[in-house]
């Protein structure tokens, strides 16, 4: 960690700091996240594909890197931008530094910049494309940016989804399982599989390109549509498959999965100015009137005015009133915009999985 690096935004704003991690160039949508812990989970969250992530908490790297706190098989972010990187971590589970972790994955980092100023910039101007580089001058970087495709026009789901179906083996092996669960991987966070497995489910993860026939042929008791990155309007192929499942099997949609259920019933999605990314968003469960603190990571949301096809709002965000959950009036379908699996973030919402399994059990009889 020694060289200089810059972050150039498409609107011409340039931040200068020190390079850490891989000394290379990366571009992506610049987004900020307000969770104070969980950088390793953030780095490995497939929903961050195509994005350069800026944690608003200034001190990152403090507790190192360990083999367990991963949400996917690799680092998914394009770049990592910090106020301060900690080169000497301390934690009983730490086995390496954040810098080495990034280097091994050839992901560049930038530290030493005024991340609060950057956050305020994004908050007021909206998310935008940027380049993180230790190779290019700011002029070159800005020029380069103009040539690059926009985040909203790229399908990242195909990039992050697995190639072949597999059975989740994270949990303890059981003789008998309560339910057979299929997760459609559009950017799966492992913790969803971990929780379902802990709840006694046999979990099979399938690629996002699996057809509904292929899924139904597996005779699942329920299907989970995973979270994932990017613009849900680009995923008609996935929506087609989902349509084939709706009403046939109990379905739980999480984050992108939730947005796609909405679209499958004809609702529109729209892009939020700077997204919801953090671990402190209050969500009201309209069924109970209770408020839960949720973990969130999404840049798109369902337009409430376009809901149709029997979908009803089950949860709302108390900060801005956006839809946080849906249920269907007659079919066994529920969905949430936030991350009931937390990781990073609160574990207050695992009741959603219980609710889903209850629905599965009712259908199964």
């Amino acid at each position: 960690m020694s060289g200089k690096a810059i972050l150039a935004l498409v609107d011409g704003t340039v931040y200068r700091g020190e390079a850490f991690g891989a000394e290379t160039t990366a571009f992506g949508e610049i987004i900020f996240i307000t969770s104070m812990t969980g950088y390793q989970e953030m780095l490995t969250d497939p929903s961050f594909a195509g994005q350069i992530v800026v944690p608003t908490y200034p001190l990152i790297g403090n507790y190192g890197i360990n083999p367990d706190d991963v949400e996917s098989a690799k680092i998914q972010v394009r770049g990592f931008v910090l106020r301060e990187y900690c080169p000497v971590p301390s934690n009983r589970r730490s086995e390496g530094t954040l810098e080495d972790y990034l280097k091994e994955a050839n992901i560049p980092g930038l530290s030493g910049i005024d991340t609060r100023s950057l956050t305020r910039h994004i908050r007021s101007k909206g998310v935008m494309m940027g380049i993180l580089t230790s190779d290019l001058t700011s002029g070159e970087a800005l020029h380069e940016l103009k040539q690059l495709p926009d985040y909203g026009d790229t399908d990242f789901v195909r990039e992050v989804s697995i190639a072949n179906a597999f059975e989740w083996e994270g949990g303890q092996k059981r003789q008998t399982y309560r339910y057979n669960m299929v997760i459609v991987d559009m950017g799966l966070r492992f913790n969803i599989a971990r929780i379902l497995s802990r709840l006694g489910c046999r979990v099979t993860v399938v690629p996002c390109t699996f057809s509904s026939q292929e899924i139904l042929a597996m005779q699942p008791d329920g299907v989970v549509l995973s979270p994932g990155p990017g613009n849900p309007a680009l995923l008609d192929y996935a929506i087609e498959n989902i349509k084939g499942l709706l009403g046939k099997k109990p379905v739980l949609g999480i984050c992108l999965g939730h947005q796609l259920i909405g679209r499958a019933f004809g609702a529109d999605t729209f892009k939020l100015k700077f997204g919801h990314r953090g671990a402190n968003h209050p969500v009201c469960d309209l069924a109970t009137g209770k408020v839960h603190i949720t973990s969130q990571n999404h840049g798109y949301a369902i337009d409430a005015d376009t809901l149709k096809g029997g979908l009803q709002v089950s949860h709302i965000n108390l900060n801005d009133g956006t839809i946080e959950g849906l249920r269907h009036s007659s079919m066994p379908i529920i969905s949430i915009q936030y991350h009931a699996e937390g990781s990073p973030g609160p574990q207050d919402n695992t009741y959603i999985f219980d609710r889903f399994l209850q629905m599965v059990s009712e259908v199964k009889g």
Binding site: P282, V291, Q347
Partner: protein, 1092 residues
Amino acid sequence: MAGLSKVLVIGSGPIIIGQAAEFDYAGAQACKSLREEGITTVLVNSNPATIMTDEGIADIVYIEPLTVEVVERIIERERPEGLLPTLGGQTGLNLAVELADTGILDKYNVRMLGTPLETIKKAEERSLFKQLILEIGEPIPESVTVNTVGEAREFALSIGLPLIVRPSYTLGGTGGGIVHTMAELEATVENGLASSMSHQVLVERCLLGWKEIEYEVMRDAADNCITICNMENIDPMGVHTGDSIVVAPSQTLTDKEYQMLRSASLKIIRALRIEGGCNIQFALTPGPVVARKWAPDQLNADGSQYYIIEVNPRVSRSSALASKATGYPIARVAAKIAAGKRLDEIPNRVTGKTMAVFEPALDYCVIKIPRWPFDKFAGGDRTLGSQMKATGEVMAIERCFEAGLQKAVRSLEIGRRSLLWEDKSWSDADGHINYPLHANDMRLWALMAALRRKMDPEQLAEQTGIDPWFLHKMSNIVKLEQRLLSEDLNPELLWQAKRLGFSDEQISTLGDMLPDQVRQLRNRWNIKPVYKMVDTCAAEFDAETPYFYSTYEVENEAESLTGSKAVVIGSGPIRIGQGIEFDYCSVHSAWALKEAGYKSIMVNSNPETVSTDFDTSDRLYFEPLDGESVLDILENENSKLLVSAFTPSVLQFGGQTAINLAASLSRNNSPILGSNAEIIDLAEDRRRFEDFLNHQGIPQPPGTGVTTISQGQEVARTLGYPVLVRPSYVLGGRGMEITQNQEELTRYMEQALELDERHPILIDKYFEGKEVEVDAVSDGTDVLIPGIMEHIERTGVHSGDSIAVYPAAGLSKDEANTLVDYTVRTGLALGIKGLMNIQFVIMRGNSGEQSSIYMLEVNPRASRTIPFISKVTGVPMVRIATKVMLGISLREQGYKTGLYGKKALVGVKAPVFSMSKLTGVDTYLSPEMKSTGEVMGIDLTYEAALAKALIAAGLMLPSQGALLFSIADKNKAEALPIIRGFYDLGYQIYATRGTADMIKEHDMDVKAISRKLNEGHPNIVEIIGSGSVVGVVNTVTGGRIPLQDGFHIRRASTERRIPCFTSLDTAGAVLKVLSQGSQSYNVKPLSQYLGS
């Protein structure tokens, strides 16, 4: 919640160690919050130096002792429907429990709000707590609740030592401790049983060296739960959290660990059914480096293990810290929840857009450092453990840990001690070094010194139990120190140094420059701090909180306020000699500025206070109160470069802290509102002030400054003993002593000169007379004196430790006139604009002779007595003074020169001490201030007011029992009538040998304690310890060599928690109250005494 229209709020009483200004902050916030809901608030508190007891906070204010009897009378009179017990600290909680247990709440149909009684009991009574936690499947250290020492022994034999001992229902861990031997165990358990209200003590497995993590949690009646903040104690388990250096949020926890403890917190608050806030403390497995020494059984354990250590079902010092650290107003929200609101119905006033149901996201790092009183009590036991010893704390906010730590150290105001400070005694002449790395108040500096000597951070971590993360950060500071020492300063290096929190002064020390030169370089290279907002949401939402901290970054968010404005300099951490009174004054000044159409800008570093509540002023800078930081803030506020448009500062209300900035501000052309730097210097510079008084013809005790022992002996001989000696370089009575003879003087001077041979020692004639003090406000034309306060103790006892009485009934008309004349003349001749406080001694000759009045000192600022005198006279001194400073004359405000009309009431201010918490500190009253807080008794007669003050201060004797007298020869004659008085009231008299002889000679029955400490058993300390006496009167023999019997007598009564009077005047006052039988006092709202 239907039908809730009147609520009683119990305050926390006087400031003592473990219970400081945080409860004024919480109580004031809660009262305002309840009033917003249309609820009438009735407040009771015995502490006059609080904002909560002022008009405009609660609807009905009682300044009365916090006893069951008094509160029952208030309930009977006011008939509130609800009682909010969770805002008055442990005092309020204990009192509420007593009110419930004695059936008073049921009798008057008063509902306990916020936290149910069973919950308080479950959280506070160890056995119930343990049972509950085990029921919900959460881990708790193995423990046993005992009522006898024997049971404790048995447990120790089964699980081994060390163990930790915690008494139930006490303040700040009073009486507990970590014990390493059976003997320690027995002694601590015995002491703990004595101090526990429920005579219970918990003995549990010792988790020394484990990480200590706290969570602040809130819950509403609909079972919505959130956490506000977590905090990591840098000092591991073993040091009371009030004595730990704390960082927020946690730094070394992964998300898994963070969420594990968070989930446990929510589970606990739900199980306890708390409606409001609570604080939960956890022990968490240490990292491998620390575990090697402290928890070897955890080295190979899977994952992290935790234990629940403690739950406080109320707002606390930690919740105040969390509120200031996050911007989330916990007490305010807790009060709304108690009134029946849900979290999602309460707006987040910080963003104005979101609701209170969210968890703050921080984008900075907060560091709290306790402020210990060992600069005053150097001889005390400085070891830190489970007994809290700090009187206050400071907080700093920064974007990195190193800078936050350095800023917090600057805020401590221990002299000008930065992290560079090292004690000379740590290394001897041979270069052997011995850093005090055990838990003690100097450990932070010792660690820095060790790192400077190339000790390995990991090794230090293993030795101390402090996580290596913190030590590596500290070594980053050391590395930059070394660069500053060896490299030429350039813009890049200076920028880096400022980013790591080095002050200009530190940089100048290391770079061999003057601090002003560093400032000039910063100006030249444009290296200036920016100010960032504390907004609860890490900039995710646009917020409008006017709450800022400085940092060296790119973007400045605090654009200078437009319009007329002034900066109020606060008073920093609560310490002995500079307490909550000054925060009271700062807050009132900010309000007065607003009233006069000015924007008020507050600067302070103390997280416990009302002044640092973000809605007290128009803008808050949470910053150290030194020249660099204040000048930077002023520059930020000076939108124009025109000197005439510079933002002025108000220095009169922040105690000596603010006054000390006068010279530096003045040098930088920064305007000061009210009395200017020249006036302040004239009043504070001894020689100039002496000339001034001579010129005015106002007498003062003769004296002079000396620099050698022989000079001192010469001067003292001329003046005649006793003489008052003090170093010239410390203020606030520090290091002041009365010496009776040449031997004592010589000993004092030897010690003082050893510490500092450059500055003179001041020797004054000591007049043992009646001490009186006045506060006054002057506008340059008129001088208003709201009242004269007479001290019960004669001179020689620090005014802060004296009982003060208003009005001064014991003065003759001539004396009062002279005091007024001297005060008015001094105020006008000095040119005071604003407040001043003057202390006088009155020497009375034989009958018929006129008394002589000497002026002892003038303080050109608000004094400790301002809240008291404002409350008892109804004259709002700070408001008047602030307006005077803005150019609104006293006449325009409706006041005139001279003594304000006496009220038909009596107010008595009594000091409160925290000596039971400070082992090894001598408790006798002296010119050096020792009290931590004060109470007020107000009533229609002197006896009733005095009785209430004594009750509230814990100085009242039970109406019967035995008293022990140990009186120095020089006081024996004077003591006789007092002893006689108690004897006649039916008290049994115990006395030490000489005193007993005298008593016998005067035909009173006395039980002589013949054995001195080293003369077998039972000796005098054992008599006190056994509970045979209910009070002690002991006067100091002089010499004051520690280990004398007198010291042990005083400490023993402190440990036993019985009153020990070291001034015959105090004992006489108690006797007077007892003999007049004036236990019959009024209980009325303050406004009724004042007749409004």
